[in-house]
């Protein structure tokens, strides 16, 4: 029984602090991903772009099984609003405000972003969606969040220094027991494992895979280009082997239940290696960054518990009569997870109970300012006091030192004095108690309710029912993940779910296309991309995708790094034999492509050609052949000058016909 419980704890529990950290990191990944997409809002998410919503829906009418809330937004301004709403969802999720609600909303938003244009989907979208969907079922907001802060403020209403110094933590949801914790770790490990199992090509065996991958300009990041230019072939060979080894090792290391203080760091190292490679050197959307965020999930409880406490002990004397000061002291108590800060009320000094305090502390001093006694017993007030408070907080050391810098210190002190002089007024304005007159809430008990460890049958039933429901839903999402992985990857071991229509349908709706076989069986041996040559009305030649002169020789890699959306889109539109997609691309390009997006008006394109340019990557150590193959995808010939350009409101697709009308 003990062994079972131990295994349950090891496999089905993730520490709430790990989950909280994961939420913050993953929220940042989502925000960065949104920023990336925002840059291409007109091109991929509005009807001015490469695929208007009605055309996309028309193309999906037979295959179906794609949902995107962004299909409801047509115009650029409408899509802008949708992006703002998405930003709010991601922001609240990151901050942990109504975390469960906004994790669901963020998942819907991410699925919708991916579903708006299926040609832009890449491995990053699938990985991020899978992680977020499973995260919905975990208590991601139990720590390091506004929710936990609110809960803590509500459950423990301190009014005295003694209450502030009481650091016994009320019982909270510390972990996320249940299937979801295990599934999340499994997903994190399975994605690289599925990639490693398919990477059987010669390039991987020889250790050339990274060499080739780093020469595919479309998917490269700026750092990737730097690495390509600076790293030796031997370095890349070692890196390649290490990368594949890490991909294999993550899952087994993450699942070893014993010696976790040592095994988990190894798993984290492997995951960090894989994540950092893809995040820093390549641009596969949120793929690499999601793996890096998932590092937080592998931080075991033991590591969190082993953190040093009391490393910078300080004593803070605050104004007991000031509601705002008390509120800030309560906040400080909650932020001080290392237990560095102890509190004293200014009444202690006024009553003369200063036996263990430095003599320099006077009644006037504690009335005027916050007073901090640092670990060496020195007394600080004003800005310096704040500096020491920051230093006592986690991640606050740099801020504390910054506040102590000359100049900034004086500015902070001036600001502090202005606020301190009006602190009672501010307290009243904010609805907090002031002038020693306790507000209504001070009638309440100071300690929160002590949660009984024995729950009544009704509560147990409720918890049990919720647990069963969560397990079923998590199981379904995981089965969907496995089905998509089965169907879209060439794996030696199969779960047998890849033929289940329902699961594949769900995977399609959730945009978990599971293309985990990155660079499998080996990376592309050609550097390929789309290059446009637009002759403008003023006879300039431009590549309307990047606004620079065309580079049909692929000589300047920087010009072909357009981000993961374009990289996936051009590959898919080149591979697809669907004429509608190319027709819409032609429409977008002839209107001026990115150049017109930035100017928010159609540019004068006179003639446009688009080529699929393919240059073979020379084998390691061999010179470039100089052969470049160009396949013409589009040739518009001379375009007619739009005679009615002045009457057309930019922002509407050519297929749109809008007539002002009152239908009543």
């Amino acid at each position: 029984m003990k062994v079972l419980r131990l295994l349950g704890q090891r496999f089905f529990r993730i520490d709430a602090r790990s989950l909280g950290l994961f939420r913050i990191l993953f929220g940042c990944v989502l925000l960065i991903d949104l920023k990336e997409r925002w840059a291409w809002l007109p091109a991929f998410y509005s009807n001015d772009g490469v695929l208007p919503n009605h055309v996309h829906l028309f193309q999906l009418r037979e295959s179906g099984r794609v949902f995107s809330a962004f299909h409801a937004f047509s115009l650029r301004d409408e899509t802008f609003v949708a992006f703002c709403v998405t930003f709010a969802f991601y922001g609240f999720f990151t901050l942990g405000w109504h975390t469960r609600l906004f994790s669901v909303a963020s998942a819907v938003a991410l699925v919708s972003l991916a579903g708006r244009n299926i040609l832009t989907n890449s491995i990053g979208d699938s990985a991020a969606i899978a992680l977020l969907l499973i995260g919905v079922f975990l208590p991601l907001g139990a720590r390091f969040s506004l929710d936990s802060l609110r809960h803590s403020f509500a459950s423990c209403d301190e009014h005295s220094p003694a209450a502030l110094n009481d650091r016994t933590r009320p019982a909270t949801v510390e972990t996320g027991p249940g299937l979801a914790g295990l599934v999340l770790v499994l997903v994190v490990g399975l994605i690289p494992l599925a990639a490693a199992l398919q990477q059987k090509g010669g390039a991987w065996a020889r250790g050339d895979a990274l060499y080739y991958a780093l020469r595919s300009d479309r998917w490269l990041s700026a750092m990737g280009e730097f690495v390509r230019n600076k790293a030796s072939l031997r370095t890349l060979t070692v890196w390649t082997k290490l990368l594949r080894g890490c991909e294999f090792a993550i899952l087994p290391l993450a699942l070893i239940p014993v010696g976790r203080r040592f095994v988990r760091p190894a798993a984290m190292l492997a995951l960090g290696m894989v994540g950092a490679t893809f995040a820093l050197c390549f641009n596969y959307g949120p793929y690499g960054w999601s793996l890096l965020a998932a590092l937080a999930l592998l931080v075991p409880e033991e590591t969190w518990n082993a953190r040093r406490t009391g490393t910078y002990p300080i004593r803070v004397i605050y104004d007991e009569d000031c509601g705002m000061c008390l509120w800030l002291a309560r906040l400080l108590k909650r932020l001080d997870v290392r237990g560095n800060v102890s509190f004293l009320g200014n009444g202690t000094v006024e009553r003369g109970e200063t036996a263990d305090l430095p003599e320099s502390i006077t009644s006037a001093m504690v009335q005027r300012s916050i007073v901090v006694i640092d670990p060496k017993g020195r007394v600080h007030t004003d800005a310096l006091a704040m500096s020491h408070v920051f230093r006592a907080l986690p991640f606050g050391s740099w801020l504390g030192h910054a506040v102590a810098l000359p100049g900034l210190r004086h500015a902070v002190a001036a600001l502090y004095h202005r606020v301190a002089a009006r602190r009672l007024d501010i307290s009243v304005a904010c609805g907090l108690g002031a002038c020693g007159l306790p507000d209504k809430s001070s009638e309440n008990d100071e300690r929160g309710s002590t949660n009984s460890s024995v729950f009544p049958p009704a509560t147990r039933l409720q918890k049990g029912a919720r647990g069963v429901l969560t397990t079923v839903l998590v199981g379904f999402v995981f089965a969907t993940f496995l089905a998509a992985t089965d169907a879209n990857n060439n794996l030696p071991v199969r779960s047998g779910l890849g033929t289940r229509g329902t699961l594949l349908g769900a995977a399609s709706y959730l945009r978990i296309s599971a293309p985990w076989g990155l660079w499998a069986p080996e990376p592309a041996m050609h550097n390929e991309t789309l290059v446009t040559v637009a002759t403008m009305r003023d006879d300039r030649e431009l590549d309307v995708l990047n606004g620079a002169p065309p580079d049909p020789e692929l000589a300047i890699p920087r010009r072909h790094r357009l981000g993961p959306l374009w990289a996936a889109y051009v590959e898919n539109v080149h591979a697809s034999d669907n004429p509608t997609f190319r027709q819409e691309l032609r429409r977008y390009l002839t209107r001026g492509g990115r150049v017109s997006d930035e100017q928010n008006q159609p540019t004068g394109v006179n003639k446009l050609q688009a080529f699929w340019v393919s240059a073979p990557i020379p084998a390691p150590g061999e010179p470039a052949s100089g052969l470049v193959e160009r396949v013409e995808l589009l040739d518009t010939g001379n375009l007619p000058r739009p005679s009615h350009a002045g009457n057309v409101e930019f922002g509407r697709g050519s297929l749109l016909r809008r007539e002002p009308r009152s239908e009543k």
């Binding site: 829906l57 028309f58 299909h71 809430s441 929160g448 009544p456 016909r657 002002p660 239908e663």
Partner: protein, 642 residues
Amino acid sequence: MTLRERCAFLSRWFIGRYCHADPRTLGLARIVIGMLLCADTLRHWAAAGRYYSDVGVLSNRQLLAHPSSDFNFSVFNAFSTPAEVNVAFGCALACQVCFTLGWHTRVFAVLACVWVTSLDNRLVLVENGGYVVVNLLTLWLAFLPTGSRFGIDAWQRGSREHRADSIGELDERHRPEWLDAPHVSLASFLVVLNLGVIYTFNVVNKYGETWRTGATIHYVLHLDRMVTGLAVFLREHVPYRLLQGATWLTLVTEALLAVTIFWPTHRRIARPLAIGLMFALHATLGIVMRLGPFSWFMIGWSTLLLQRTHWDALETAHRQRFGGVSVTLAANRPLALRLGRVLARLDRTGSLNFAEGPSDGPLIEAEWHGQRSCDREAYRVIVRALPLGFMLGPIAHFGTLGLGSFLLRALAHRSSAIERFFGWEHSETPLRRTQSFWPKPLRTGLRYGREGLLALLVFCSTSALLHDNKSIPPLLQHKQLKAVRATLGYLRIFQGWGMFAPNPVREDGVIAVDGYTIDGRRVDPFTGQAPDLDLSDARGLGLGQIEQDYFNRIRLDRNRVYHPALSEYLQAWHRRTGAPEDELVAFDVFWVRDRCPEPFEKQPREPENVCLISWRKSHHRARPGTPALPARCKETSAEKKD
């Protein structure tokens, strides 16, 4: 009195008269309008396959390719297949149910507003004044604290703030301030102002000849596409002179409504009079004509006219009629205390008095007018003393499938087990009142933001009022700003009020499809019957509002762009019926119309069939034995100048 003092006095008078809303009124309005919203959503859901999915008469992709107006946004456009559309309707209904129940009311009021405007924007072809009324009403309600009474939010707030810890405390009648404090806001004024504006312009815009001669109701009753069976009975049996009187009475009623709604004094009488008139007018209209949500939502809107004085009078009357019930609860029994708390919370009229009985006695006893009762009878007496208690009894009986007595007996006999199950035998943790996590200035700022947004909406609505009404003098007509058009268009909150104004339509019509199946039958896919191309013998067509408005609008020239969508829908008819022999190989879509009979006449005039769409399957060869297909008819415009 200085000018400043006069202004202050006027301002106080105005705010006191028009900007106060009683929380009970808001709570009642939320329940009534929430239920109407649910019913309206269910009505549309029933037609979802044909009108809102991608296998219907106008798929989302076709609408997105040809939006119905410059500013058109609908969440429903993201849902394509019938299954997806069902999910969307499910979400909409869930939001509206939560709004009705008053759970997270503010959030769900906003969401209900989004779903309502989305539903309208998804198929603007079927929009009428009723849809605009729904949009407006849900929008104004989103700005009001409708969850402060009669809802889950109010219940939870009360539970958080006060809890009687003994039976003795139950009688203290804790009544928090927010329970009765009126809500003061611009929205309280606007929601009533808009109602008055509707009637004002409905009267002002009816300057046509038919209203003057009193023939309007006669014509309206002969619009077969709109009327119900009752209207057919009325037009056939009620003499014209009576209909003439009814027309003028309608005008007088609407004028009276405009006056009574705004009347600043004697509101204790004026407002109930307005409510009564609105109920009479709209209930009549609602049972005679199929106008969709208009009539019922106007009745719902009338609940917002109730004043504090009416509620107080109702409470007093209730207390006098049912008050004085003594409830004796068993001492030291957690279940009894909890029952008492629930009863005390429900009994806002103070009809119940609580007393402590012996701990080994019955769980609950009641005494009314000297008669002591226990068990089921006690519950009956107590429930009847609660507000609307006369309704709760039958509802409880229905809800428990007649097992009420059995359940109450079980409750009494198994009370210890129930207490153990819920963990009530332990002492309760003390109730803690906590402050809001968010600072007061933030909340104040949000309030100002709300009022600012309302001011913006007032500006847009005023512009719409001047722009959309026919009776507004040209001097006040103006070109609307793009931002104003966008606000009005996306939210669909227009202010053009003039039902059957200045004259009612006199052209009656319906879409009829003359379809030829592959096996030679003639069928109208909309009815499933043989096509009926003669309207003159119709005695009401029995069409729903969505259907009749869609037929009436799709014929218009400006909606020709949607004809291919209709054609596609008809071509796929056999896929929906699942019978291959139902495949249409040819069809002609006609606007079958006639002119309503003149007064003292019974027979419609000028029957005519206008061909809107004519389609023949290419390369089709008729099967042996089936009749040859007729030649394609010439597509023409169905619009006719009246």
